[in-house]
Symmetry: C2
């Protein structure tokens, strides 16, 4: 019996009864729909004990359930033990969906509720469509967890800092002017920004409010006349407040966004990104305004890096490459010398090596440091409980990234720790063929990510293998390591790939209980050529880190694939060696030698 959780759920049911609510929904997200919510918004974890990155709790008068995906089935079962919360496994065919569960439990005429701050407009609308058909009322104005969570942490109040124009490439006033131009093109007078990275990019600010993403809790409202940053005053230094004012920014308290929206004048045409705006803000907009729902122009502008940002990415690739070279050399020596290294101590070492680099400010996500069979668990990150010693046998998959003021990195390598088997070599080479094929491809303007995705998978598909995650995501500039709106994946995404976008390229394969393989580079999309058939784009690989050739079967690579690999290794050596000592140089020379 988990008495703490049982008591909290019982308190929640009391509140539900007071408000006449039959089912209360607690999604995992925060008012900014962030990948990493601040502690004050971890309502789902507080009410259930489950702390996976994805999952929604529903509590009715006599039942409670958690809906989460296959990454978290095992973790959820452990964490929900004794809480009375049942696990509903998402995407399994026989499992009730949340709307179906609520419909069955509370029936027609019932009332469901949630905190409008915790759901995007898109999610709310899709839920509402189902409930409307079933005659179920849905109310978004109840923060019942807020009512019962006594020692709820405060909203983070850390100071923000300015990212100077020498690093961002474009001043705040220029960015906001461009944003206003885009709003005009879309037929809108103004927009709300709710996504923290959109705001950080637009105002050239960064913060420390959540792990890994250097963003600051805030909202923004942007029109031709008013460019308002809603932020708690204690987060501002006098210097940055002055700077922002000089750039034409009005500063207002974080809590004032709702009343500000409620007072928007008649006929205001406001652009709202339904995936990046929470329901509470959406509902604050008066009925006399016209809402234009489309992807935020800030998200789009942010995805296309300017020349200064691109130069920053090239710089951080060198810094990251130095840290990674030193790390893999260190790891090899530790194992040779018989010193104990674990998944956690290895990733801590890499973090320390990155931290030595100029302008480094931390990791860009929690390292996926996975030894042996752990590598086959796609979203594995070691904890104190699972931490395993890395021994000189099998293979080691490390997916990690750094935050630097001048850019963000994301890289995965898989290395053998003993003489590799034929099977892992075949699997590794097939995965590598996909990575190379996507790296080398040239494509016409107007191409979407899902058209290119097969290039990364084809050699795997030929062998009856597939991986179920995406192949590429956008990467922020000293911002979120997972950034939209573009992607390279099997699923349709209408966003066109455009020059200036920085993306990951990470085909993979996983043999459950044995090992996982993933090789990931970052790439920049750039203009390639213009012919009578139109403009063509191609990729420039940014990441600089050797790919372990002991796992490659050279005869499985085409002459062009081999040439790509050897050229890449030459470039890695040339760019990194001037920054390395002699021992490191010799070691890297060997790792990057032609095959």
């Amino acid at each position: 019996m988990n008495t703490i959780i049982l008591k909290r759920i019982s308190q929640l049911r009391d509140r539900m009864a007071q408000h006449g609510i039959d089912a209360y929904i607690i999604p995992g997200s925060d008012p900014h729909l962030s990948e990493y919510p601040a502690d004050c918004w971890k309502a789902r974890e507080w009410i259930s004990g489950f702390n996976g990155s994805a999952g929604t709790i529903v509590v009715t008068r006599d039942k409670a359930g958690l809906w989460t995906d296959s990454r978290y089935f095992l973790q959820a079962e452990i964490q929900l033990e004794g809480t009375g919360v049942d696990l509903y496994k998402l995407k399994l065919p026989e499992i009730l969906s949340i709307p179906d569960f609520i419909t069955r439990e509370i029936g027609k005429g019932g009332k469901a509720g949630f905190d409008g701050n915790s759901y995007s407009v898109t999610e709310y609308q899709s839920l509402k469509r189902v409930f409307d058909r079933k005659n179920i009322t849905i109310e978004s104005s109840f923060d019942l967890i807020g009512e019962i969570w006594q020692d709820r942490p405060a909203i983070p109040s850390g100071k923000i800092f300015e990212l100077p124009v020498e690093i961002t490439g474009i001043s705040v006033s220029n960015k906001l002017d461009t944003l206003n131009n885009k709003l005009r093109e879309a037929g809108a007078d103004c927009t709300i920004l709710g996504a923290l990275d959109d705001i950080a990019w637009s105002f050239n600010i960064r913060g420390n409010d959540v792990p890994y993403n250097p963003v600051a809790i805030s909202y923004a409202f942007i029109s031709e006349e008013e460019r308002i940053l809603f932020i708690r005053p204690e987060k501002l230094t006098g210097e940055i407040a002055l700077h922002l004012k000089k750039e034409g920014v009005i500063l207002a308290d974080y809590s004032k966004i709702t009343t500000y929206l409620q007072r928007l004048p008649e006929k205001t045409r406001i652009l709202v990104d339904p995936d990046r705006t929470n329901t509470a803000l959406y509902k604050a907009i008066p009925g006399h305004c016209r809402i234009i729902e489309q992807i935020s122009p800030a998200a789009h502008l942010k995805s296309i890096k300017n020349e200064t940002e691109i130069e920053g990415f090239r710089q951080v690739a060198v810094k990251d490459g130095i840290a990674l070279t030193r790390f893999y050399l260190w790891l090899e020596k530790q194992l040779q010398e018989g010193n104990k290294v674990t998944e956690l101590s290895a990733s801590a070492k890499l973090s320390a090596l990155r931290a030595e680099q100029p302008l480094a400010i931390g990791d860009s996500f929690k390292s996926i440091s996975s030894y042996g069979a752990h590598g086959a668990i796609v979203h594995y990150t070691p904890t104190e409980e699972t931490d395993t010693e890395i021994k000189p046998e099998g293979s080691y998959l490390l997916d990690s990234g750094g935050q630097y003021l001048d850019g963000t990195t994301d890289i995965t390598r898989t290395i053998p720790l003993s003489e590799p088997t034929e099977q892992i070599k075949k699997d590794f080479t097939r995965t590598l063929k996909g990575m190379i094929s996507l790296s080398k491809c040239k494509f016409p303007a107007g191409t979407r990510g899902c058209q290119l995705d097969i290039l990364a998978r084809k050699a795997l598909w030929d062998a009856g293998i597939n991986y179920l995650h995406g192949t590429g995501h956008g990467i922020g500039h000293c911002l979120n390591v997972h950034e939209g709106p573009q992607s390279i994946r099997m699923e349709e995404n209408p966003v066109l790939l455009q020059p200036g976008m920085v993306m990951s390229n990470e085909p993979a394969m996983y043999r459950t209980g044995e090992y996982g393989i993933r090789t990931e580079n970052m790439m920049l999309i750039r203009e390639d050529s213009e012919t009578e058939f139109g403009k063509f784009y191609s990729f420039e690989t940014l990441t600089l880190c050797y790919i372990d050739t002991r796992l490659i079967i050279p005869s499985m690579l085409s002459p062009r694939e081999l040439a790509w690999l050897n050229r890449y290794h030459q470039k890695v050596y040339d760019k990194l060696s001037p920054h390395l000592n002699e021992e490191e140089q010799n070691w890297l020379k060997e790792k990057t030698k032609e095959i």
Copy 2:
């Protein structure tokens, strides 16, 4: 001055004035939204003289315009001369769209009209959305052309014929039972079928009402209790009427569909495919019914061929291959002997050779018989005016197909007529690499066409070349050569590729003013293998016709591509030679010899 057209438009304007209509829209489609409308439904051609396969006319009180795409710019300019109808070039950025043109011309409060029979529900809804925002009324109940078209042809009254179960593989009653199961799964009680090929497939009937597509003008209504074929009585023989009744089909007059729909009882849940149903039928459904809009289950079931149909496709591939072998041998001899052959006479010869084959009933579309630079005009078909002599120089592209009772074909080959240049050989080999890559590919269950499309284009993209049409379409079984709902093209189409689907594979490249290259085979999707990663599918090539190796640069092909080609040629020879005479055998042996 084209006085005939001017008079017709003037008569139309009189009618518009009588009905208070400010803008009248005349799309090219018929009540069944067919690719080839019967003559009685060529209202757009009658009012404007323009007879391209795509285009919409809009007439206001003082202006008239035709909107058509780049395939028809030249033809439209010629055909519209002296008619007062202006050409609006679709997809050119500066050109007004139809809704924008109408909005500008008739303004707020204006009234637009069209014949509900001539627009799909999807097209109507998208027009209505725009006009609602602009305060323009849109009425779908006016067939003004019908009021003034004195000598309008009658609706075709040709007899239908039954395709026996030995050819279709599934009886009518079985097909209708399956359809009803699918309706139940979709939560519907019944559906309307408006697309003629969906009806022909569901009732195992064929007809001769339009060129190339062996369909019969009819509608159908299907529910568990009533399976009604709405068709003119004179189209039925006593025998087929009896057969259909035995299969549980109720026969009703074609004209009765509207009143039947108007009398649907309350709460009927009716499935309507908005792309395959015209607006008039949609509007006939009473407001007390619930309309479920989704793709027709008949279209989906039809796309997945059964074993008998697949065997038919394999048979017609042999028959078509024999006709094509004889044709290309004949053409070679004609040119060697200095006999005059033109684009039209060549395609007539091929039609005649196909007609000699058992169960042949005609061509499946108008042959794209294009010599030299005509090959670069994607949708070129020769007319008396453009017909050109095929001389022993340059290249010849022939895209053609046959209708047989046991299947339908679609094939393109490009052949050299003299020593080919290096450029055309490079272009041909790149196109061929794409065709082979798609033919050889293996993909997991759940894949959509747009994911595979790049395989056909990659070798072209690598050289800065692209083609702007699709790579593959579905093909009917003794039905329409262009069949949905699946496709392989750059654009997103959510329909999954499934075993049993028959599709074209037709990468191409076009050098304007020089030549066009297209190589097209038909392929069947079949189950390939099942691994721990799931089910995988692959393609079986159906088409049996040599690919001209004189246009191939072997060193540009990978060893696997070469092996595919040589295996394919061996198969072509093995399957066709038993049916050929000695001269034909020797000639084909040479054409299919290993390279």
